[in-house]
Symmetry: C2
Amino acid sequence: MPVYLDAAGADFKTQFTALLGAKREDSPDVDATVAAIIADVRARGDAAVLELTARFDRLDLTPETMRFSTAEIDALIGEVSAHEREALQIAADRIRAYHERQIPEDASWTDEAGATLGWRWTPVGAAGLYVPGGLASYPSSVLMNAIPAKVAGVERLAITVPTPDGQANPLVLLAARLAGVDEIYRIGGAQAIAALAYGTQSVAPVDKITGPGNAYVAAAKRRVFGRVGIDMIAGPSEILVIADRDNNPDWIALDMLSQAEHDESAQSILITDDPAMAKAVEAAIDRYLHTLERREIAGASWRDFGAIITVPDMDRAAELANCIAPEHLELCVADAEMLADKIKHAGAIFMGAWTPEAIGDYVGGPNHVLPTARSARFSSGLSVLDFLKRTTMARMTPAALRAIGPAAETLATSESLEAHGLSVTARLNHLNEH
Amino acid sequence: MPVYLDAAGADFKTQFTALLGAKREDSPDVDATVAAIIADVRARGDAAVLELTARFDRLDLTPETMRFSTAEIDALIGEVSAHEREALQIAADRIRAYHERQIPEDASWTDEAGATLGWRWTPVGAAGLYVPGGLASYPSSVLMNAIPAKVAGVERLAITVPTPDGQANPLVLLAARLAGVDEIYRIGGAQAIAALAYGTQSVAPVDKITGPGNAYVAAAKRRVFGRVGIDMIAGPSEILVIADRDNNPDWIALDMLSQAEHDESAQSILITDDPAMAKAVEAAIDRYLHTLERREIAGASWRDFGAIITVPDMDRAAELANCIAPEHLELCVADAEMLADKIKHAGAIFMGAWTPEAIGDYVGGPNHVLPTARSARFSSGLSVLDFLKRTTMARMTPAALRAIGPAAETLATSESLEAHGLSVTARLNHLNEH
């Protein structure tokens, strides 16, 4: 039974606060283990990575076989059906087209003081992408992480993907090929993150690491942050659907279940101004939960974290959505544009009933790596900008320094930073003397 | 004695690697203390903050006096000289003008499949800015943090600034006023970060926290990250000057000392193709170190972390600069533009001998909050983007879903995510039936 809330009810504020505050993830404390693994890889390099791979993935590698050869990749890709190959190509093309529009512009201008100012964007030199093995080894995630990096102009893009018992996912390799990935290593866990961050004899270090992973991978990313850049630490997936009376409850139910089936900690919330729609969606979800392949996972998510909220009107729905700051937001309402204008905090918005969230997971074009756990209040989904950095530029002329230098001298004196002031004064004195 | 390296020397690679790897910061491990403070503030709110302020800042406050009143701010600002007021206004105006150009554009387009795609930028709702008390209480940092937030459109901007023994810095309050800060609290340390992140009875929580601080503040920011967004954790300041023979060694010396005087852990490096210039700059630094007010700090920095590197040519200088990825880079060379084109990794570039780094600290316009400790390889200085987040948008039409939906169905099946596929199938079936 999901939570059923009435936004007009007396207890609503308390109940809604409890819903927002529900702790959905119980991360095991693996920090000490991870610290030891990272120290081991830093100290012993390849030898440590190979030992840990033998232990955790039951796979004996050598420095030479740690990396997939081109022939191995070709052979595995050959196993992919034409049907799947075509679907992955469509996804890659659409994701690339969307992300190419994100490339930001450099700027340079000269202001009235005569100072030339601006900035320049440059790509990260090398990036590493962690891809989970086993069940959560998603080719779509490879596309979503690797394509923005390549669009940004990252010269060297390495993937680490564990292959427990030697099992590799041909679709992951194909996605890497389509995205232009340069190196693929069959290693995983904290040892892969350590190898990417610090380098080993066989794995050159990278500057930025992105991609999802289990608790060990997440803890390792936190630990190497600063040495390299990292993306966000993703929590369990979430969807909020706002629906009016004119909807097919089956569609809404499936959209909500497509989050719930990811993870027992996923959260699906429906907000509607129509109590009949609330009931109809709930009934449809119950029905699908009898037949869905992943009904155990989806059922647990819906039971423990699902919620249906009825509201008096759509303005109230927008208010609540802004409190929730959902990762995914579907607006299944007559005027989705008008409602979207009232949304301040959401990772991605899916407009209208013809835009199921699953389209965004694969082929819509926008990135599916999005801020979870209310972090859309302050952060964005993965983009080309995550693989670029900005260098600011300034050039003074003698005239510009005359115009604005004295203010810098004054402030340096106020802050008791004498050399700061003198570096300006020395130049101004020269101008006055010549 | 700073390190003296010759890029053409036999041992250069080893020596340069040692220079890059030098550990300049010895952060005390205050994590347990900080965890306890945060837990206390979460549990007891104002009461905990007030007790900690009494203990650490020797200042007895009440919930009512925790925040500066408008009258108190007016009175303190009245103490600022007209001269300083004007300098701060020039700085604020120039910083605002630069950052207004950073506001990114929203986008929306319809592709050939009929899908309407795009994104929208929205500001963080509330931001908190930590300002250190005492010696490092810099009004320029208030401008550099607060103005980008206000340019981004942040509605509520709060400052926390400790006032040990009740001592407040009038220039900090004036900078806050000029930047449009909404609330100023006289609290500091980990308790201030906890109050901003979790809220108390008197301090409403914020969504993003930026600003420099000591080891306690840095540890607290790391701990609340995820609950709120944070900016980078800044390390000690750095400058790299690349200079050719046509320079005034006094100017270069002062530019290098203006980093060294910040902090004993700061680092100043000169790269030159002219051994005579290397000697002349070293001599000038030695001379200034006899008279500079902060000669103890600057002297320790120069002695322990300073370096002079001679190179055969400027291409080699650019290569080394890209390895160093300096926070500040001065190009005091005949053709600064040509050299700048070869720089891939730097926080800020100062072009030509008329652009001392100190100009960028105060009045240039670009932000002075920049990536340290080689993190310019993967990150950028503070900007308007740090106070904005992007929501991606997608709208399918029936025709668009017909065009790209089947690829999504295929990939959902490949990834064993049945509900994902069914959410598309249900809609496509409806289209086929009607």
